[in-house]
């Protein structure tokens, strides 16, 4: 590795060393209690998939450059230089971690392996060794923000084509089944590119008589997946600016775990941030929508970023109580629900990661099968894709559906 690149990577590393990050790096006692917590390790018991082992890949470099012990007695902690070989290890560690933070529940200190992996991701970006697909997607998102005026028209024509399908689900409409650019709307709804994240949500908003507006942007933050703080901010700012321009009271994020987590971390915004599931639970509580019961047996997969890392446990269960007679918990304690195995950008990388995703989530597939439910409900695009892939790969014979689409299908006047 060239000296210049090496030095710039050390500087990048240093930029991540906040108080909390230092604590994450310096507290681990390598007790290994977190080892069985990781779905990747539980499915494939190789040391490299143990959370503390992944963290140690980063920690070794940390020791070498930033601790007295690593500088004077590197053998004690196996401190390591940043080299090309180290980059390969960093990539393997970071991109086999979905950022679910299940290990953080196990650790006696609460060490956040995902945070430590964010250093690895940043170093990979610095060395231009990050997964190309993710940076391509992040660049696309940023560019969309810069060129939105030129792109608006195309988007509006695409939205127009969906209106009939919205009306099919919920007839009593105002003028626009999918309103956009409504200054003074109460809610800005931020969806994804796909029609499946717009149509059911639109039907429910309309049924609840919400004064809403659809965002021009997609909610998902590819900058967060690839671990680029600058792009994460730029991508989020597109939505913040739109929300400010329209003077909305609330920004409602579609069923996308990453998007919900990133948006909820906003500080001092002049609007509140809620997830679509919370919104639907609220409509039900307030009697603004009514649902009929659906036949069949159901279980719910808690998306890590929405439940363990977002605190939304009760709302989906409240909705499901209104929707179905036969509900079965997937994990006895939802805090310990296994990650689907698709987070952290793994699903977004598509076929590239398919084999690893299927193998590393064997425990998830077993958990799905063990629920003995016909339908697996979830509230995150990534989870939905990954669970559907698992369903196919392990021939589980279940149906994987979005919670929002069940709600839309069950609407009654």
């Amino acid at each position: 590795m060239e000296a210049q690149l090496h030095d710039s990577l050390v500087t990048l590393f240093e930029s991540k060393l906040s108080t909390q990050m230092l604590l994450n790096l310096e507290t681990c006692s390598r007790c290994g209690i977190c080892t069985p917590a990781c779905h990747a390790y539980a499915s494939m018991p190789l040391a490299k998939y143990a959370p503390a082992y992944r963290a140690e890949v980063v920690r070794r470099i940390y020791k070498r450059y930033f601790t007295k012990q690593g500088r004077f007695m590197p053998v004690l902690g196996e401190a390591k230089d940043i080299t090309d070989a180290a980059l390969v290890e960093l990539k393997e560690a970071a991109y086999s971690c979905t950022g679910c933070r299940r290990c953080m529940v196990y650790c006696p200190f609460g060490i956040d392996t995902q945070q430590i992996m964010s250093i690895a991701k940043l170093l990979l970006i610095g060395a231009q060794a990050e997964p190309e697909t993710l940076s391509m997607l992040a660049d696309m998102s940023v560019s969309k923000g810069e060129n939105i005026d030129a792109l608006k028209e195309g988007f509006l024509s695409g939205i127009k084509r969906l209106e009939d399908q919205v009306v099919e689900k919920w007839r009593s409409q105002g003028e626009h089944p999918i309103p956009t650019d409504v200054v003074g709307a109460d809610v800005l709804y931020v969806a994804l590119a796909g029609a499946h994240s717009i149509i059911p949500a639109a039907a429910v908003f309309n049924a609840a008589g919400e004064k809403w507006s659809l965002s021009f942007f997609e909610a998902v933050n590819f900058g967060a997946f690839v671990g680029d703080p600058t792009k994460t901010r730029l991508i989020l700012d597109r939505i913040v600016n739109e929300a400010k321009r329209l003077k909305v009271k609330e920004v409602c994020i579609c069923e996308c775990g990453t998007a919900v987590r990133v948006a909820k971390q906003l500080k001092d915004a002049p609007f509140a941030v809620v997830g679509l599931t919370e919104m639907h639970a609220r409509y039900l509580r307030q009697g603004r929508i009514k649902l009929r019961k659906l036949p069949g047996s159901y279980t719910y997969h808690d998306p890590c970023q929405i439940a363990r890392n977002g605190g939304v446990y009760d709302e989906p269960r409240y909705i499901l109580r209104h929707l179905v007679e036969d509900f079965r918990e997937m994990s006895p304690d939802p805090k310990y629900n296994w990650c689907c195995g698709g987070g952290g950008g793994l699903v977004a990388m598509g076929e590239e990661t398919l084999e690893f995703r299927m193998q590393s989530a064997k425990v998830k597939a077993e958990q799905m099968r063990g629920s003995k439910a016909e339908v697996v409900v979830t509230a995150c695009e990534n989870c939905h894709t990954q669970l559907s892939d698992l369903n196919r790969h392990y021939a589980l014979g279940q149906r994987v559906v979005f919670l929002s689409s069940l709600v839309a299908d069950a609407l009654i006047p």
């Binding site: 909390q20 007790c31 933070r101 650790c107 200190f109 609460g110 446990y313």
Partner: protein, 235 residues
């Protein structure tokens, strides 16, 4: 030999304490000086008041109990043992009325505390020699355990020698003379260097010195950092 004994029993003790205190302060200062970044979310569901639950997590290790009960038991015995050893050593400095509320002979615990801690240490060591904890371990982990093992072994031997086998040439009075002289900054080692088993004391103090010095530069800092970490997790 006498010079070596003296160096270990007096100057090295002062050095170890100085390195340890300054090193610990330096590491804490470094943490506090680091920039604040927006904190990641806590783990949900949250319980209030979060500081109280965080304190409970730090002191009772409920997650270890849940996921590895034998380790939890060993950790409990070990850390309680450390606390008891700390109190025991206080009584080797002087008489503390408060510590004798429950009357006991000195040293605390009739030699069983050292034994317990030794057994726990052997367990920790063995555990680190088999997968999957083996792959996680680095030399530091073994070295600390071995250092502790030696420290406790020589310490316990002195205690066993006195309480179980009746060695009387060096006892509580001699220890008190030595330790209190250290604290008064007028070290006097005569009383503790002439007994037949003095070499045990010297070895005990030597390894303890290394351990005390290692504290700020190793994972032993978890004893302090755990409180901040657990608070972050609880939000």
């Amino acid at each position: 030999m006498a010079t070596l004994y003296y160096l270990i029993l007096a100057p090295m003790v002062y050095l170890a304490v100085a390195v340890s205190v300054l090193g610990t302060l330096w590491r804490i200062a470094r943490l506090l000086r680091a920039p604040a970044a927006p904190p990641p979310p806590p783990i949900y569901p949250s319980r209030k008041p979060s500081w109280l639950f965080a304190l409970g997590d730090a002191l009772l290790l409920p997650s270890v109990f849940k996921h590895n009960a034998p380790l939890w038991a060993a950790l409990g015995l070990f850390h309680l043992g450390l606390a008891a050893l700390f109190l025991g050593h206080l009584e080797l400095v002087a008489d503390f009325k408060a510590l004798q509320l429950i009357p006991h002979s000195i040293f605390l615990g009739k030699g069983l505390i050292g034994l317990t801690v030794l057994v726990c240490l052997m367990y920790f060591l063995c555990r680190r020699m088999v997968s999957p904890t083996k792959e996680l371990s680095v030399p530091e982990d073994y070295l600390l355990l071995v250092l502790l093992l030696f420290t406790v072994l020589f310490g316990a031997q002195m205690d066993w020698a006195r309480t179980w086998f009746g060695y009387s040439s060096m006892g509580v009075d001699e220890y008190r003379g030595y330790l209190s002289s250290l604290i008064r900054l007028k070290p006097s080692v005569e009383g503790v260097t002439s007994a037949g088993h003095s070499f045990m004391l010297v070895a005990h103090v030597f390894f303890a010195n290394l351990l005390i010095m290692a504290f700020p530069f190793t994972k032993l800092m978890h004893a302090i950092f755990t409180f901040a970490m657990n608070k972050f997790r609880r939000g």
